[in-house]
């Protein structure tokens, strides 16, 4: 496959999850989530039960893609922070590195200033974790480990069976 696939391991996922929970508490947010730039939800924390996080993830990625397109037209690199203010809820969207989007939804229980501050702190930790994942994937690919882990076992029949 062209480009590199995004791979998430249990260990790093736990650390990401913990970091999001921390951000959720410290920023006093409603919902916090991480999306890959292609629109795949990676992790979330907070009051997610009555939110359609899959749709939210896809639309957020579309939003980032569209503003990224606008930025390029203007000769800007990319807008790394987007902020939308609603009547009750506000949404703060920021980029972590080249491919991850951090979204914080919050209301008047907190402030934009606090959210910004906490997002900045968390972004650094999260960027570190994603760097480690990239290294790990490269290492495992080099050793041919990923192969054994999953796809070698999948037969043509397994794939066919999905479509009965």
């Amino acid at each position: 496959m062209m480009g590199s696939d995004l791979i998430m391991y249990e260990e790093e996922f736990q650390r990401i999850d913990a970091e999001l929970k921390k951000l959720y508490h410290q920023a006093n947010a409603k919902v916090v989530f991480l999306v890959d730039k292609n629109g795949q939800l990676i992790a979330s924390a907070g009051e997610t039960h009555d939110i359609d996080t899959t749709s939210l993830a896809s639309l957020t990625a579309g939003n980032i893609a569209a503003t990224g397109g606008i930025a390029r037209l203007l000769g800007e690199k990319e807008f790394t922070i987007l902020f939308h203010e609603g009547e009750k809820d506000n949404i703060h969207i920021s980029l972590i590195g080249q491919r991850i989007i951090l979204v914080v939804i919050f209301d008047n229980r907190t402030s934009l200033g606090l959210v910004r501050l906490r997002v900045k702190k968390s972004s650094e930790s999260l960027a570190g974790i994603f760097d480690e994942i990239t290294k790990k994937v490269e290492k495992e690919k080099g050793e041919g480990k990923l192969e054994e882990a999953l796809f070698a076992e999948i037969s043509d029949e397994d794939i066919d069976n999905l479509f009965r």
Partner: protein
């Protein structure tokens, strides 16, 4: 660009429906949405104009089932087919794992089909993809209409790669799942090849 999550044991892949304006891309997703069990699908999101033309994209997340304990999910997207939405089409192709080209079988849409396929190739190559290597399926839609190009001619005009191709009537669902299945299978085989 798939997302393989060993933690939640999920594999997510992205499929894009491409083709000229009004060829029936959105109709494909609508049919798939209607015919899928509630537990297998998320919301169908359509960013459309007042006249129901796709403005940015349609999005439908589908859970196909499990393989070796991994949930297999496909995210289906359509692009806006109208020529002047070129910039948006490019964005939707980012991270694509497989493409369905929906051709409009009507004689008067022949030129538009060819242009759209060319546009697809260019937009993919700008992102570093090669249409000749990507999982790909071809759909000849609107076979119910009277003024249509024979399939053999469409094959010659559009299917230079000889990928799986299907006659379809997206409004009734004919050929819709067959097309999806053909591309989804290729995506999974491709993943298997690389890991």
């Amino acid at each position: 660009m798939s997302f393989i999550n060993y933690s939640s044991r999920e594999i997510n892949c992205k499929i894009v429906y491409y083709g000229p304006g009004l060829c029936g891309k959105t109709t494909n997703l609508q049919f798939i949405y209607r015919r899928t069990n509630p537990e297998q699908k998320g919301k169908l999101i359509s960013l459309a104009t007042e006249t129901e033309r796709t403005l940015f994209f349609d999005f439908l997340p589908l859970a196909l089932g499990d393989i070796k304990g991994f949930k297999i999910r496909f995210h289906l997207y359509t692009v806006p087919g109208q020529v002047f939405y070129a910039a948006s089409r490019k964005l939707i192709l980012k991270g694509v794992d497989g493409v369905v080209f929906v051709a409009d079988s009507q004689i008067e849409r022949t030129e538009s089909n060819i242009e759209s396929l060319e546009d697809l190739k260019i937009n993919l190559s700008e992102q570093g993809y090669d249409l000749d290597k990507l999982p790909f399926a071809m759909q000849y839609n609107k076979r119910d209409l009277p003024n249509i190009v024979p399939v053999a001619d469409l094959e010659k005009l559009l299917n230079y790669r000889k990928v799986p191709s299907f006659e379809a009537v997206a409004v009734t669902g004919k050929g819709v799942f067959e097309t999806l299945k053909a591309v989804a299978k290729q995506v999974l085989f491709e993943l298997k090849k690389h890991y």
